[in-house]
């Protein structure tokens, strides 16, 4: 395991690993793809059956699960693609424009 600097973007070419290789497993956790999001998934927990279909389909592992139950979205990594909303059997996920959360400062 190579110790990678926390902020690679400040490092010179002489320090970075060669050829775009990422010698550190799982560091995409630090890449907050949630900043790209235009639509935010919002769940109606009264309709949710905890079937976990959304968890299975999410391409970014941005659904939180605990003990076999759905526990919400990891918004720092959710890109807002809407696959969860499309696949949800009881249709309890809505995609809401980020702008409508602006006043909450979210």
């Amino acid at each position: 395991m190579v110790n990678m600097p926390e902020r690679w973007e400040q490092e010179s070419w002489e320090v970075l690993p060669p050829g775009g290789i990422i010698p550190e497993a799982g560091n995409s956790v630090r890449y907050e793809t949630g900043s790209w999001r235009a639509l935010r998934p919002v769940v109606d927990m009264e309709k949710c059956t905890h079937c976990m279909i959304c968890w299975l389909f999410c391409p970014d592992s941005a659904l939180l699960a605990e003990g076999g139950y759905f526990r919400g979205f990891a918004l720092s990594h959710c890109k807002g693609c809407g696959i969860c909303a499309l696949e949800c059997p009881p249709k309890c996920i809505r995609m809401v424009p980020e702008g409508s959360f602006a006043q909450e400062g979210a």
């Binding site: 395991m1 690679w8 973007e9 010179s12 070419w13 970075l16 060669p18 050829g19 775009g20 497993a25």
Partner: protein, 408 residues
Amino acid sequence: MAVAAVKARGSPRPAEGIAASLSGSLAVAEAMRQTNPDVVAAYPITPSTIMVEKFSEFVANGQVDTEFVAVESEHSAMSACIGAAAAGARAQTVTSSQGLAYMWEALYVASGTRLPIVLHCANRTLSAPINIHCDHSDTMGARDSGWVQLYAENTQEAYDNALMAVRIAEHPEVMLPVLHSQDGYTITHSVERVELLPDDVARQFVGEYRPRYPLLDLKAPVTVGPIVSPTYYFEMKRQAVEAMERAAEVIHNIGQEFGRMSGRYYGLSEEYRLEDAEVALVLLGATVGTARVVVDQLRSQGMRAGLLKVRSFRPFPGDEVVQALAGKAAVAVLDRSLAYGAAGNPLFQDVCSALYVRGMHVPLVNYVYGIGGREAMPNDLLQVFKELYRAADSGQAGPAVRYLALRE
């Protein structure tokens, strides 16, 4: 193979060489057999076919442990080599002409991912019109792809380069793929006396490859080939530039190490009767051999002619070239490929730039020769020397770019 043990020249006590009569293709196949790569992926194309045909016989006979991948195209050949090299394997391929052109986008993936693949190329021109004969259009087309480029002069050097290429590519300071060029037919199909290293000596020289970031090392997982944003891409390319510059010293050192072992020493360039020469040729590839004969002929007539052979075209040995050419009355750079619309052809451009950035002026002309397999005979090269003397005497260089042995 006719085999007789002979004592190799040089010191200290080089290995016993094995003399053989081989074409360049068969000699390179022998080097591949001795290297015993983990993976060879190739698709046949004239004039490179014999190299890989012979090597596949070694695979079929169990003389090597190589996984031979008979791919459906050169694009796949290079892609398979990239996958194998990323996994941590020593990977090689063989091609020519359109085959190299078809590999083009993958060539950049190999160098950009810093994978030390070795490609043995039998130089052949590019279509159209279709033509299977030699010029350097194929490898010069890959000039800026981030591959080290070595050009062999003869069968012996093709064999030697095939072994040294592995060490150069895999050197930790380099980690770049190497394109090992040999003039199609002139080298690949002509039978010459060649001295092979004994198998154990060759194997010891090539050594074992220890990849730094093998994809299959489950204890140190890595991601290979991720998308790289503008925040990092430029830095990655700067690293490859540095690696190419470091390759110069590595090529030199490995050429000297090879010399101590075999009696045959190699650098990035080689001067032939150049030191006191008034006029000189700069060239690469098999025509260097013809040019040596012409230089000898002129010398025997009392004329001070010489030549500079460029063995490593990438990295280009700018300092050596400038030092070698300083003070010459007139110099002809011979190119066996065309750079349409440019201010001169590939080798000429590099020689010009190397001189200019070091504040040096030497009267230079550029001759294009041998396109599509047109022969460059001794009389053609004599003609070049005559024109150089005329230019030196008159102080008039004349047109910068000329075409040798072309019907005007």
